[in-house]
Symmetry: none
Amino acid sequence: MSPGKPAARKTKKRAGTAGAGKRGARSAAAKAPAVLVPDGATGGARGARGADRREAILAAALDEFAERGFEAARLDDVAKRAGIAKGTIYLYFRDKETLFQELLRAMLTPIIGGFESLGQTDIPTKKLAEHMRDVFVHEVFETRRKDVIRLMIAEGRRFPKLAEFYYREVLSRIFEALRAILKRGAARGEVPEQLVEFPQLMAAPGLVAIIWTGLFGDIAPLDVRRMMQAHIDILFAPRS
Amino acid sequence: MSPGKPAARKTKKRAGTAGAGKRGARSAAAKAPAVLVPDGATGGARGARGADRREAILAAALDEFAERGFEAARLDDVAKRAGIAKGTIYLYFRDKETLFQELLRAMLTPIIGGFESLGQTDIPTKKLAEHMRDVFVHEVFETRRKDVIRLMIAEGRRFPKLAEFYYREVLSRIFEALRAILKRGAARGEVPEQLVEFPQLMAAPGLVAIIWTGLFGDIAPLDVRRMMQAHIDILFAPRS
Amino acid sequence: MSPGKPAARKTKKRAGTAGAGKRGARSAAAKAPAVLVPDGATGGARGARGADRREAILAAALDEFAERGFEAARLDDVAKRAGIAKGTIYLYFRDKETLFQELLRAMLTPIIGGFESLGQTDIPTKKLAEHMRDVFVHEVFETRRKDVIRLMIAEGRRFPKLAEFYYREVLSRIFEALRAILKRGAARGEVPEQLVEFPQLMAAPGLVAIIWTGLFGDIAPLDVRRMMQAHIDILFAPRS
Amino acid sequence: MSPGKPAARKTKKRAGTAGAGKRGARSAAAKAPAVLVPDGATGGARGARGADRREAILAAALDEFAERGFEAARLDDVAKRAGIAKGTIYLYFRDKETLFQELLRAMLTPIIGGFESLGQTDIPTKKLAEHMRDVFVHEVFETRRKDVIRLMIAEGRRFPKLAEFYYREVLSRIFEALRAILKRGAARGEVPEQLVEFPQLMAAPGLVAIIWTGLFGDIAPLDVRRMMQAHIDILFAPRS
DNA sequence: GATGAATGAGACTTCATTCAT
DNA sequence: GATGAATGAAGTCTCATTCAT
């Protein structure tokens, strides 16, 4: 669970990854590709090989970056995990930085999809909020995407372009949609007015969940779902 | 055959360092020391020098680590920024990792102080919350401590010991105090019950503030104070 | 998801010295490879290159270590002498210490060969001794192996494992064989009894030869062959 | 006895000098000074302080150099062991190399004394040889001088001047005296003629003793005295 | 297209030496 | 004279990137 001693760099002998190389390496790959690549691109005849490779690299990169951060991750390990040669990475990505950025972009983009359509329905805002919470828990928190967001948080400052992209393509859109929903809810008296101006307050527990779990998950587990429910209950409490 | 002169190492002239001390180097030092060092320790005759140096290094390290992260920060730059020689760092810290950890420990520990005493007073919980928000804004958000927390968030996973320390020495205490306050507030009907179980919900906007500002501060400024006020208003809204 | 093992790092297994090749790299390489590598393994198309490099590094390392000792030798110079880049060394040896130890092991191991078979013959012990002296002079004293033994003597204390290896794999075997020979010789009255218990006395002039030549060879040359002959004459003098 | 792991340089914490600093540090100092400094220089009033310091440094240096070799020994440790400040060393010795050379010179010079007078007596050569063996065992082998000779052997090649000095001032004189003795012995038929030309053969077991003990003393102890006796018995065996 | 050996800039760390106190 | 904090050259080792096969 815990990432172990940080100073891994100094140990002379590599910590025996033993089985992990075979088993663990693919685990992420099995999940991620569907997310990273538009359907249909996978099934091709021979040319598909290239796309597969790309996927394998991205999946492996996610594992390594998530585990060690951008600087500490080694392309050597990414290659090993992807089951390819180190040089091959450079056939698909200009350099480490590009790999990192494309990984994050690829993983972050599809998040929006679900949210933007939510505003259409006419169900009670609280129900909507609970649905959003479920989506977050299942599609983000219990997913590799949680790690992607964590990476974004940890490294974002050093990749301003990436942060901007994330804001423009993801956050601003989500908050746009959210704001619309909250506005309607406020109009109906279901939600406090203030949320409209600061939809971040609505999302804050998600952020807490990701960070808390990452840092203190082992020492002080957090029941994320219940926390988010509590938050919703507070926001949507009937007010006088 | 004959090895000739054994390693006759000559020290080159100190020419290089001559005008070394750049004034800009002190920028952070001007702020941090007050935090890092107990008042009065500065003026001494003997040990003071050492403490000063230590402070200068910590201040410079904060700048570098905050800007680049643990791995990417170079001790060379830390030294340059502190206006000292590279080797001097090692007179005060065993290695880069120790420097990093001591920096965070030194900056994080004093955070608790202010919070723990808050529970004693008997003023309305909302007022207390607003006071806490002010403390946060002035003592953390508008301070280098904001960067320290950001560092903790970004690198914490790779320094489990540090994360544990932070949880044990800082967070758990703050939440302990917070929980007591909220309990009393809930008993008086000022605060929703759920906050007692999840005091994280109370602190969440602070987290949002730090991360948002760090990543999107330039693109999409956030009025942190107002956001936190909105949050308080929602939590303490009279409920039916 | 979970950070799992801290490192996916694997120890690179060097596919042994299996593949081989000669053709020297530099001065010492011209001599050493024949010693370090079994003949006939040269032909391979693929691995040959790697083995060559390895040989070149070992040869260069021998030069540098012999000239300056373990600590003072610089890998930079080893690389330069081998005609490769600094980093390349680390593709073949984990670190400086490993390089040093593998060098000594590789050079010392084959020494035993010649000696162990000597006991089989039935020629007079004195003739045997003279033959051994010739082997020593040609295979050790006039060879790079002389330097290796010098290194072993000079640095052995700081590498107890290596010293133990040398004793176990080389010396004890040689002395075993020697003792058998001397025992037979003593039974025949050709050799003084005492030599059986202290075969070191038989080998002592070899040690003297190596050390004397190393230290005073230029100032006070020593006719090693004649000295060893004198020693043999004394030991095998007919006694009353 | 054994120097421990060779890679001491890499361990983060210095091998626990703990007790050694107090106890071990003085051990050598207690013995060496008498050797290093002409009698009478010690007892002065106040000025003696300087000579004492010098002695302390030399004694400490011997310990450190013997344990780690010239390159690996750190002046910091020498100072610590001598109970002085690092900079003080430079008040007495120009630099590390000078310290090393003066140490060896100081320790090696007095060795000759005893030997040169031996030739005067008229006792049987074998008795003389046995006496010399006793002197060697007590004054060299069981003494710090053994380490000095070991150092000479290990580092001599890198300090040609020192080797030359040793040869000129020590070895050549000893062998001169030895040769005279052996010549007389040979004339009387007590000793084989050949020894006169190669007195090294007489001294060889001493060399073996020092080196063997240093390298394999722990694994395969050697009864030095008996070995030397055996050697003498062989050399002086009545011959037909 | 793939490979992986090779490269070499660059990071951390050590330690002989200096010098202000 | 002593001190020991400070210096910075130098050494080991890592790893992103290249390129011949």
